[in-house]
């Protein structure tokens, strides 16, 4: 017995040691190897310059696998490490494996930058000197910024109103047409097009040639056909040239408005509309007295979403005019100050003003969205 025992005890201790040691080693080796692979992969991807597009395609493939696989692996790895602990600690720590990465990234990319940008906005162009609210004073007094604010206002007023109007129009018409699916899908299509692409499309429509040559831009061809002189639509007639840029966003966003309205209209009880018709209401009355009040919530959601979208408008302006001819908006001024003029303090102040402008609209939008319980 004793012999047996004494023989067993060291083995147990050894076993215990071996397993614990083994576990610790494995718990260390696996993460180190994983991270090592990821870091080597990153270095390789960053420093490899492809000679031709076949090589480039291969590198792209590796990059995609590295990125997607790497993210999945990090989750598996951290969970695998946590599950090695006692059940009590698993319960305590596992939630942070789940929400931790999201919180970390949000902290790094959105929460901290808000504080940091505010801090930068209180300093001069390269951050060497504290200037208090001087940048904000400049933002609200300089002519170029006031022009940008005015333009954003134009964007909000015309962009949102006309997108909503056209969206409603198409939704109501399509609802009563046999070609509903086709019509909706075609009006919706521009949503898939980038604003840079849309800029090219509309630049081509606004293209102007001198009066002697044939007009290759659609708008000028019509305009000249009607007996006028060709016009440079996006350059002349300030500030109304902004409207020609706003048209692009209306073109892009009407589809979005239409889809939301279409679903909302289908939610109106048919009896309600029938009853009104029986009572002798005209179609116009049915629309304004019954449909519109019924889908009020959707109209607010769409309008606020488009307002936020237009507040941050950037690509369209950059591609169409680059901000020339009095078309600068808040976001293009931000870009110009931050990256062209290298005036970080001033740019940061513009970004903070943009944030403050977005907050009330967004809060209203979220409140509406919750009331709708769309999901």
């Amino acid at each position: 017995m004793q012999k047996n025992n004494s023989g067993k005890r060291p083995t147990r201790v050894l076993d215990w040691l071996a397993t614990t040691f083994g576990r610790v080693v494995v718990s260390l080796v696996v993460p180190v190897v994983t991270l090592g692979i990821l870091i080597v992969g990153f270095r390789w991807l960053r420093d490899t310059i492809p000679d031709n597009n076949v090589q480039k395609a291969l590198i792209s493939l590796v990059a995609i696998i590295w990125g997607v696989g790497g993210a999945a692996m990090l989750y598996m790895l951290s969970n695998w490490l946590i599950e090695k602990l006692s059940p009590q600690w698993v319960r305590r720590l596992q939630p942070f494996v789940f929400v931790g990465p999201a919180i970390a990234i949000l902290g790094w990319y959105l929460a901290l930058p808000t504080v940091r940008t505010f801090w930068i906005s209180l300093h001069n162009r390269d951050g060497s000197e504290f200037v208090g609210l001087q940048n904000y004073v400049a933002v609200f007094t300089q002519r170029i910024m006031l022009e940008a604010f005015r333009n954003n206002l134009l964007w909000i007023v015309f962009g949102a109103t006309l997108s909503v109007t056209f969206g409603l129009l198409v939704a109501v018409l399509a609802d009563r047409s046999r070609f509903e699916t086709l019509a909706k899908s075609l009006v919706f299509m521009p949503m898939a097009i980038s604003m840079v692409g849309a800029g090219v499309i509309w630049n081509f429509i606004y293209e102007v040639k001198d009066a002697a040559s044939p007009q290759i831009g659609l708008l000028n061809a019509i305009w000249v056909g009607l007996g006028h002189e060709p016009q440079a639509w996006t350059a002349l007639l300030q500030p109304w040239n902004n409207l020609f840029l706003i048209v692009i966003v209306i073109w892009l966003q009407t589809g979005f408005a239409m889809v939301i309205f279409s679903a909302a209209i289908k939610g109106i009880p048919q009896e309600l509309i029938e009853a009104a018709r029986v009572d002798g209401a005209t179609e116009i009355q049915v629309f304004f007295k019954i449909m519109l009040p019924y889908i009020r919530g959707s109209v607010i959601t769409v309008a606020t979403t488009i307002i936020i979208f237009t507040l941050k408008i950037f690509d369209v302006v950059i591609v169409m005019t680059g901000g020339q001819f009095g078309t600068h908006v808040i976001a293009t001024q931000f870009y110009r100050q931050a990256f062209t003029n290298q005036n970080k303090g001033y740019a940061a102040a513009i970004a903070i003003v943009l944030l403050i402008a977005v907050i009330p609209v967004m809060v209203y939008n979220l409140k509406q969205f919750r009331e709708e319980e769309a999901f």
Binding site: R46, I64, A71, F98, L106, Y109, I193, G197, F314, L355
Partner: protein, 369 residues
Amino acid sequence: MSTPKNPKRKKMVSDILINGSLFLLVALWIIPTIGLLVSSFRTRFDIQTSGWWAVFPHREWVKVKEFAIPENVDPNGVMEIDGVTGTFQEFRDGVSTPDGRKVTWVGNKRLGKIQIQEHRWVMRTDFTLDNYQQVLAGKSFELKNPDGSTRIVQGDNFVGAFLNSLTVSIPATVIPILIAAFAAYGFAWMRFPGRRILFIMVVALLVVPLQIALVPILQDYVKLDLNGTFLALWLAHTGFGLPLATYLLFNYISGLPRDILESAFIDGASHFTIFTKLILPLSVPALASFAIFQFLWVWNDYLVALVFIGSKPDVQVLTMRLAEMVGSRGNDWHLLTAGAFVSMVLPLAVFFGLQRYFVRGLLAGSVKG
């Protein structure tokens, strides 16, 4: 007798009115894209000399005969050419003959030629793939001129930019969805201190415009030497997409029936197993809807790529390449239209192929504020 007929007729009239106005609106909406698509297949010469609608049948003055200026005419006075009379200026604009032709003086007074033109129905359908070849190619290559000679052109390497866009977009779609799904599950089905506060923070971050983050994040990237890498863009798009993704997926995942999870727990499954084996497959509709949005958003993004990739030509995405082309060769419409279409083809395919999910996502609020 006429009463039963009237409503029928009224219905027909309103049908025509409705479909007519709908058709008009739809036409208004697709003509810009059609113009682009048609132009991208036209030759450079055609694009510069006629509108894209000239591919449809239309009447145009077409040259039927051309000859040198007769020696006996005096360009400074009134001339008689081919049976019609006029001054030089009148011939420059074209003088009509009684049989419906037009005699036109092409060129200047001394070296010009006389053209006899007829008003004919024509279609300018001289289509070509050269524009696409030139836009897509990465190297310089030979291109045939209309007269048979060749010239060397430098390709715009949209293939390379396309690959870059793909390399940016796929991980920048999958990674935020993965992270958001984990977080949504954590917030919905796990109990831990600070759960409510953290979730409210996530939703509150929906209001932050990404402009806020650009300057500080760029500083970080410069310090970490991440600028101009794909990882930099993936992480940035993940950060900017996460609040909405988490919010929407939370709404969906927290709405899944409780008893499925509870019975899985009783069977001894861990959170991780439940998440990967049960929740993810059940959430596919919500994941797909958001994935389409995020993909389109990243693919079409210009600002984030512009700031974090900057001037590195190897990593440039399609939107950057296209915008650059607008700046550098804004009048080369044969290339711009082809380039724009290359940049649109994948999102359009995704859009038309997965429209159902797209609409569902939209109704669930998948629109970046």
